[in-house]
């Protein structure tokens, strides 16, 4: 895992998000990868990562229940692997 609860990261600037009923489509213009963000909460957290010093703060700011944090960290980690998210 690259990403932990303390990581500082952000949406890659080459990524565009398109809102959809299930969450969003994320498209990376650099590697032309299309990724599905499968929950509206994931979308709002992902969008705000750049404004917070850590994943934890982004989760708190988006009022994500603590029980769901590990799932979010692993989702963000897999987004990092597809270069949708990058470490700052």
């Amino acid at each position: 895992m690259t990403i932990t609860i303390d990581s500082a990261c952000e949406l890659d600037p080459r990524v565009s998000l398109r809102p959809e009923p299930f969450g969003a489509l994320a498209y990376h213009y650099g590697n032309r990868r299309l990724v599905f963000l499968r929950h509206p909460d994931v979308v709002s957290v992902v969008k705000s990562l750049g404004e917070h010093v850590s994943v934890r703060e982004a989760l708190v700011a988006n009022t994500v229940l603590e029980a769901r944090w590990p799932a979010f960290v692993s989702a963000i980690d897999s987004l990092c692997e597809s270069d949708i998210i990058r470490v700052r």
């Binding site: 809102p19 959809e20 009923p21 498209y27 213009y29 032309r32 299309l34 599905f36 499968r38």
Partner: protein, 376 residues
């Protein structure tokens, strides 16, 4: 195997297509016997440059991230580069399909200098004999020259796009070798009985044994091979191939034809699957979101005659276009059903009652050669 919740969501349709295919022109220098769009002659009502740009602006506003451009031969359009540039400028990535005839050294350099651009060169045989029998005399040499020019211009990893036929399934390893030799990516797709393909399908479509060969080959080489998710009907053979495993027609993909008509997918250019026109009031957006046809395609489909088959979840009943143009009911087995149910059903389709592709832009010399499909 169960259907994932994401696939269930996607079947209900998105606010805009994930990607769409846009055939820029019906004009073509070749007359391939399996052409999906029955191309040859330019349609006099082809979209003007201004109309084409307006469509692109609409796609930008819809956040369509990339489009597949085809034809006909799209590079025949005089404004081809202008359209590519307008697309790139608006953040719409383009992958265009070409037979390569117009990619000389200079054009290859020009293409290599552009952003957000993928090229796929069509090739349907690993040697001239096999390829030219389908795509026409000299077309193998044309495609190879285009590949050489792209490689010399350092375009990067272009794609070699192969439609799988009875005559080239045995060449899969050779296609892969060819792609590797160029640092290119191999893409293989399923032959559809659409366009002129309705006439050649009986002679060209892979045998049941070959379908298994395609499946096995993809299972062992599939990681770096693109398929456009077109082989999901083969998933009844075992573990699922990579991809969404669903028919995306009118749900996540569609086709815009050279005159602006919007069809459910690239394989159903037929009045029955025409949803409207991008030139209508409300434009493409309204057609995508509100057309009766697309609304209907987003309704839960019935498994029909396939309901009792334990492979239905895996194969989803196969391809709508393949069923339609072979005269099979849409809620029944695919003509290439790996369990053989399609072949049984085909026996009960009356000869000459299969739907004829429409419209037809074949060159006159080809038209006179065309015979109604006769199934034996």
């Amino acid at each position: 195997m169960s259907v994932s919740p994401l696939v269930e969501e996607l079947k209900r349709g998105l606010d805009a297509p994930i990607c769409l295919t846009w055939e820029l022109t019906y004009a073509c220098n070749l007359s391939c016997i399996h052409c999906l769009s029955s191309s040859g002659q330019r349609d006099p009502d082809e979209l003007t440059t201004a109309q084409a740009k307006a469509v692109l602006d609409e796609l930008r506003d819809l956040q369509v991230f990339y489009i597949n451009i085809g034809g006909g031969e799209p590079m025949i359009r005089r404004d081809f580069f202008e359209i590519l540039e307008h697309s790139g400028k608006n953040g719409i990535g383009v992958k265009f399909s070409t037979n390569g005839a117009f990619i000389d050294a200079e054009k290859a350099r020009r293409l290599a200098a552009m952003d957000y651009l993928d090229i796929q060169i069509s090739l349907d045989g690993a040697d001239a004999l096999t390829n030219d029998a389908v795509r026409g005399e000299g077309s193998y040499a044309i495609a190879r020259r285009a590949m050489d020019n792209l490689a010399a211009a350092n375009f990067g990893p272009f794609k070699i796009s192969v439609v799988m036929t009875r005559h080239n399934v045995s060449q899969l390893d050779e296609f892969k070798k060819l792609a590797d030799s160029y640092g290119a990516q191999l893409r293989i797709t399923r032959l559809r009985p659409a366009g002129r393909g309705a006439d050649s399908w009986n002679d060209l479509h892979p045998t049941n044994e070959q379908q298994r060969e395609i499946y096995n080959w993809l299972m062992s080489h599939g990681d770096n091979v693109l398929t456009g998710d077109s082989f999901f009907h083969l998933n009844a053979l075992g573990p699922a191939l990579p991809g969404l495993n669903m028919c995306g027609a009118g749900r996540v993909v569609c086709l815009i034809d050279p005159v602006g008509d919007v069809y459910a997918c690239p394989f159903v250019i037929h009045d029955e699957f025409k949803a409207g026109s991008a030139l209508d009031d409300g434009g493409f957006t309204k057609v995508w979101r509100e057309s009766a046809l697309f609304q209907e395609l987003r309704e839960p489909e019935s498994a029909g005659a396939c309901a009792s088959c334990d492979s239905y979840d895996a194969c989803q009943g196969g391809c709508m276009a393949a069923k339609f143009f072979t005269g099979l009911p849409l809620d029944g087995p695919d003509p290439e059903c790996v369990k053989g149910h399609g072949e049984e059903s085909l026996l009960s389709v009356p000869i000459l009652l299969t739907p004829r592709p429409s419209p037809d832009h074949s060159k006159p010399s080809i038209m006179t050669l065309r015979q109604p499909a006769v199934r034996v």
